[in-house]
Amino acid sequence: MGPLSHAAPPERDGDGALLQLREVTRMFGGLAAVKDLDLAVPAGSIFGLIGPNGAGKTTVFNLITGANPATSGHVLFGDHDITTQPAYAINRLGVARTFQNTRLFKTVSVADNVRTAASWQAGYGWLHGVLQGLVYARREADLNATVMALLEAFDLADKAREQAQSLPYGEQRRLEIVRALATRPRLLLLDEPAAGLNATETNELMQLVHRIRDERGVTILLIEHDMRLVMGICEQIAVLDHGIKISEGGPADVRGDPQVIAAYLGQQEPEHAPS
């Protein structure tokens, strides 16, 4: 993959931001699922994206990863304008994601799930795949080492040969994160990683997210409903409501913001205001 050429991206502010969204809008018919959203995710941070159901959080993920491109505005990743790039190209630039409902390759083994994710970096294609000569042997050995190292690091090595769908739910979620990491991302998007996990598993997940950032230097952007997790690990949080950013800042700022409380709990209507 050589560097991709682009029309000059809009001038940058917010230095050190790995991911920037500029006035991004996503329309579904007449409905603006996300409207004029500006977002800057600093490199090396753990960034939270929260908001009530239907606020447009997953839509933001889909437009960053190219699954559902933005209708207008710009998505910048590093020096690249990725607004209209296809999903696979965005991943190759260094953006990986997990899904709200896990999307593992269910009937494939745990190791092969990870191996498949690392495959575009394996550096060979149909020709060497069919010939299976020295190039194949070397690249596959490298690939296997990468896969096993990842599985070891995340405690899945003893399940390498099991079918992905046979894992307990918590491990399936972890496998999905490991699989995303196999693409060697600089930015990892986690869509409700704690959904369906119990308290212990959530704690483990928090440690895991920290580890990924600290040991691998991966910037993390996560959507989450579990406030304990969000407030516990996110350094910066943006709050969406009806596709509009209503608040941004550190956990304490966001928690105290009346607009955020209103979005989650509802607002007292003026006519019913106490006299």
């Binding site: 990863t65 190219g66 699954a67 296809p86 999903a87 696979y88 991943n91 190759r92 990986a96 994601r97 899904f99 999307r103 593992l104 390759f105 269910k106 009937t107 494939v108 092969d112 191996r115 498949t116 994710a117 495959s119 575009w120 970096q121 394996a122 060979y124 294609g125 149909w126 060497h128 795949g129 069919v130 010939l131 299976q132 000569g133 020295l134 194949y136 042997a137 070397r138 596959e140 050995a141 699989r179 995303a180 196999a182 693409t183």
Partner: protein, 352 residues
């Protein structure tokens, strides 16, 4: 890191194994097999080639083509046209020639088969490119239509023999030729399944959105699979043409395509082992049923193979939906494991 010497050694052993398989299948088996089973077996083996081609796109990549008889037909007609044009002139081939002798004739046959495969692959690419960008069953509809177009065009082209089919194709695809092709195609399919491109195809089958999010260009994977798949089917068609000496437009129709789909589904979608077994079985079935029809009581049953196919499918869907082999593959590791178990069983039995 595997050393070159070790890789080379494994490759040489592998090649020897392949040569042994070709000799067994192409030379030894026809010697010991009673003559009346030979023709069905040859057909069954040729169908293995076409079904394995189909298995790449239907089984591994999880798309659905019902046009592979047409791709086989394109390959068969192309290869047949080449050998009928050059064979008699260069090597005094007639449609009754059964043996290949010498380098030149073998080269001509190989060139004809390859050209047939390439032409079929190219048509697979043409059908696949617009339709595989879309999700779902568009490929099925497109290939269905494509197959019928091929059949109608050939039927109305006098140069290709029209409705009567192409005749006088030199019958040079004998057992060794067929066996070589089968072993090579099995090898290619197995190698694809155990390397990056094959894993990408499985990822596409399992979850396209996830595959795309992991840096896999799903459109490219699907179109490549379709091209290769149609190409292998075309190679099979070429073999068929040079085995039977004729090719009929009816053999390009979707009914014939459904037979190949049946082989893949019956064997286990995605399983090379299962597809191979099912293709041999279903390929030999009509010929073998002909033998059975000498018994007066069985004539009614054996007269219509489609009834039997339908029954087979119904029973399969009730009893074993994943096909005979499911996703299982025969492998050296499995054989070793089986050997170990047998030894343990025999040892235990001797002690007990």
């Amino acid at each position: 890191m595997p050393s070159p010497a070790r890789v080379l050694k494994a490759k040489i052993l592998g090649l020897l194994g392949l040569a042994a398989a070709v000799v067994l299948l192409g030379v030894a088996l026809p010697r010991v097999l009673p003559a009346f089973h030979q023709e069905p077996l040859a057909l069954g083996l040729i169908y293995v080639v076409i079904a394995l081609g189909l298995n790449i796109v239907n089984g591994q990549a999880g798309q659905f083509s019902i046009g592979h008889a047409a791709f086989a037909g394109i390959g068969g007609y192309t290869a047949g046209a080449i050998t009928t044009a050059f064979g008699p002139r260069l090597f005094e081939w007639s449609d009754q020639t059964v043996s290949l002798s010498g380098c030149g004739p073998t080269l001509l046959l190989c060139a004809a088969l390859l050209t047939g495969g390439l032409t079929a692959g190219l048509s697979g690419l043409l059908v696949g490119m617009p339709t595989l960008r879309l999700r779902g069953d568009y490929l099925a509809i497109a290939t269905l239509g494509f197959g019928e177009i091929v059949r109608v065009v050939i039927t109305n082209t006098p140069a290709l023999g029209g409705a009567l089919g192409m005749h006088g194709i030199p019958r040079v695809a004998s057992f060794p030729v067929i066996a070589t092709a089968v072993v090579l195609v099995i090898l290619v399919c197995r190698n694809i399944a155990t390397s990056v491109p094959g894993r990408c195809l499985v990822a596409v089958r399992e979850d396209e959105i996830a595959a795309e999010s992991l840096g896999i260009s799903t459109t490219r994977a699907k179109v490549s699979a379709m091209t290769l798949s149609a190409g292998i089917a075309g190679l099979g068609g070429g073999l068929l043409a040079h085995h039977l000496g004729t090719y009929n437009p009816v053999d390009c129709s979707w009914i014939k395509s459904v037979e190949f789909v049946l082989m893949v589904v019956l064997g286990g979608s995605g399983s090379i082992t299962g597809t191979t077994v099912a293709a041999v079985f279903l390929g030999m079935l009509p010929g073998e049923m002909l033998m059975l029809s000498q018994f007066p009581l069985l004539t009614k049953v054996t007269g219509n193979k489609m009834v039997l196919y339908s029954l087979l499918l119904i029973v399969l869907m009730l009893v074993r939906r994943q096909g005979i082999a499911g996703r299982w593959e025969l492998s050296l590791d499995w054989l070793r494991g089986l050997g170990g178990k047998l030894a343990a069983l025999l040892g235990g039995g001797a002690r007990g």
